[in-house]
Symmetry: C2
Subunit: 465 residues, 2 copies
């Protein structure tokens, strides 16, 4: 009991201190004026006349996207890097940063402007389905791993990057913020963007290296799972702050909490009943699958309507289906490949189309980019390393934990796209953060290798995620 109360006090103290520090930063930043970068161009306007030909363009885009993603993914796999990062890089290469700059005609042939709204919708639906699968895979038992180490590391790996993100927002806001965003929203968002750890990519790296059952692997997985849930809650909060007209923030928060309770209490029971129905039938019939689909879309719809993005609803619904049930396994089998092979690469390309590395020119911009990478890495690594050391890991294990938690992967890209859509990030800042996400994720495996923490020789992974 002493331990529990100590944890509670520690928790409250660190929470209080973090909020205090954030308010200090906020008061320092309130006098700043936004850089006033105009919001990015809205999507192209499809007109009726092109409708008949649109299928042709979309099919062409999809073929090119799948092939490019697979080739780069296979290349990265050969280099012992996460396959999914190869797909992300493929997306960036197909965008204005490479193909659009090298061969504008080819780019506008493969990805003409009029396909953008359709690809946007496909990528959004893909990410919603993907977040559902991530929620489905989330082992809630990991969240119960209430070891001192897991709690300390996961919270330190959020608090430190969050606060250091908010701190450099002081420097970024007057230089690179988008038009008409308040400092509070901006600082909150930068903080969240720094705090993301990509649970799926981390899990994949651990599995690929045969480390998922080691003490280190279990600790890292538990930390990443807690981190994920906390960071997504934070993001939902930031989005509601960004969306809120004065007064409606409270409404957004209340409806969010109401919906959360509804899903965790009532929909959870429905999910358990569905699992029993599935067990009774002996197989996942199309009717059961239809119920899951409808519930998933409805949940995404509600959170989108509340104003905290469809992603959360999908993720939340995924978490209420027991992750080790046959139902969960069947749903994964029925959706995963189509989502991972066909839809996620569309999201990467859509992200790539919005990433304009050409915008980052001049030494000041590259300095800012390096600063962002440094702050993100040091915050994440430092927080996790210190907390791990403090809870009894040796320096090598602590360093490995720190490196692993610095994996941001595609989760970061999802958050960044939300920021760009909200008008919090300017296109140049979006690009810098995309570079940060790619760099921090890519350095993970080589550094881990250097630290010699692999339980087994690295082997190529067949599946991306």
């Amino acid at each position: 009991m002493i331990r529990r109360s100590r944890i509670a006090i520690l928790y409250a103290a660190s929470l209080g201190a973090s909020i205090g520090v954030f308010f200090l930063i906020r008061s320092a930043g309130r006098s700043l004026t936004s850089a006033g970068t105009p919001r990015p161009e809205a999507l192209a306007r499809p007109t009726a006349s092109e409708a008949p030909g649109i299928l042709l363009h979309v099919l062409l885009a999809l073929v090119v996207i799948i092939v490019a993603a697979r080739i780069l993914g296979a290349l990265f796999r050969r280099l012992n890097l996460p396959q999914v990062m190869g797909e992300v890089v493929a997306g960036i290469l197909l965008g204005p940063s490479f193909l659009g700059w090298l061969a504008p005609e080819a780019a506008s042939l493969v990805l003409p402007v009029n396909t953008a709204p359709y690809l946007a919708l496909i990528s959004q639906v893909g990410v919603v389905l993907y977040m559902f699968l991530v929620g489905l895979e989330l082992d809630m038992d990991l969240l119960q791993e209430r070891t001192r180490a897991a709690i300390a590391v996961s919270h330190a790996s959020i608090v430190l990057p969050f606060l250091s993100g908010a701190a450099i927002a002081l420097w970024l806001y007057p230089r690179y913020s988008a038009n008409a965003v308040s400092f509070t929203t901006f600082a909150l968002f930068i903080g969240v963007a720094m705090s993301i750890t990509a649970f799926p990519v981390l899990a994949r790296i651990l599995t690929d290296r045969g480390m998922q059952k080691t003490r280190l692997g279990v600790l890292a997985l538990a930390c990443a799972a807690i981190n994920d849930v906390v960071a997504w809650c934070l993001l939902a909060f930031v989005i509601s702050v960004a969306h809120a007209q004065t007064g409606s923030l409270l409404f957004t928060l209340l409806t969010t909490i109401g919906f959360l309770c509804f899903v965790l209490l009532i929909a959870k029971r429905g999910a358990l009943r569905l699992v029993r129905w599935q067990t009774a039938k002996g197989r996942t019939t199309q009717d059961i699958f239809a119920v899951v689909c409808a519930a998933l879309l409805l949940s995404a719809l509600v959170t989108e309507r509340i104003g905290i993005h469809a992603l959360f609803g999908a993720f939340l619904l995924g978490t209420v289906i027991p992750h080790n049930s046959v139902l969960a396994r069947d749903i994964r089998e029925k959706c995963e490949d189509l989502v991972v092979v066909l839809l996620l690469p569309v999201f990467f390309v859509f992200t790539g189309m919005r990433t304009q590395i050409g915008l980052v020119h001049g030494s000041r911009e590259w300095l800012a980019c390096i600063l962002i990478i440094a702050v993100a890495s040091l915050g994440k690594f430092g927080g996790s390393f210190l907390a791990a050391r403090w809870t009894g890991s040796d320096w090598r294990e602590a360093a490995s934990i720190g490196v692993l938690m610095n994996t941001r992967g595609l989760m970061e890209l999802i958050v960044l796209n939300v920021g760009l859509d909200l008008g919090v990030l300017s296109p140049v800042l979006f690009t810098m953060f995309v570079i940060m996400a790619v760099v921090t994720t890519l350095v993970t495996t080589p550094i881990l290798h250097q630290l010699g923490e692999s339980g087994a020789p690295p082997s190529p992974a067949p599946a991306a995620s």
Copy 2:
């Protein structure tokens, strides 16, 4: 050998006679002038301003579509009618014929005009994937069932409805044809629309009634498979005629034949290699799945570019993968439910949005509608019945074959949507043919029941297709 040559002579004679009759009809129709119904309104013009909210609308539409399709499907299943027709009816009910007429506000809330282009794309992609699955399930061995009966019935079940369709085109053309379509194209299209038999729905009805292994069941399946392939070839020909500027028809036909040879000779080998790769790996990896996806989209892309619709490429690619391989089974498992549960209902709703039963008003229009149903049914039933009787079936078996071949299901809807897109069908004619497709498919099961040809008591089918 005598038999073979007799069949060949019979075949050539009936082909020659059919072409002769068609040219007679054509020469009679050339002097007619088109009704000149303007082409249907093009899709709504989505503008950039609505882009952020579009995800919300699409999610809402998808939820409503899934729920409506499932409820009507379950209802039809209870009534021992094909579940898929319940989903089709759900689509029509959500369109202007029912919901839009009963509660226009609700209709524009659930399916606002700005979602139409997105739903159109989703439904097109869904139908492309579905046709791939149909091709995948097609048992090429059935096509080898070179019994006299199968050949006679399948050809009679195309020739008679085709010619009677072309004949009533003489009456329909001056009254209901769309603007600027030539009589030749119109008559060809009406003929094809009359000749469709829905292999998947027919197969499902037979399985549900435990008839798929009976003499009658095998014969009907073989006939429907041959009918399918021939009718789709005819449709491809009609589309190229409709598309062709003078001179380019030859080009379209040559490229089609070239692509057909490429797929059946070279892609077929690739498919066999893929099956061996899959067997060697022991499971269908994401890489293998990605190759299939890319090939499927590419094949659809090529046929769309040639001008004979993406459907054919998808269907064709499906046929080259051996239907009883583990690869085919895995692909079906990975795609079927998502396509059948989520995407096909979107197609039905999209069809429903274009079906305006309100356009069929007044006794002349309903007379035309009844005439279309009568000609379609009598042509299909008559042709199959006579051929079956002639090849030795008793009257009951012949009647059952006739009724089964009259199943049009969703294949007919696919063809009709192509016709509307091409500008061959006017909205009112489209509506009449949709009614015809629904009616002819729905009467199949009750009539079969009356004929007492069920090998087993009808049992509810769990899956739609």
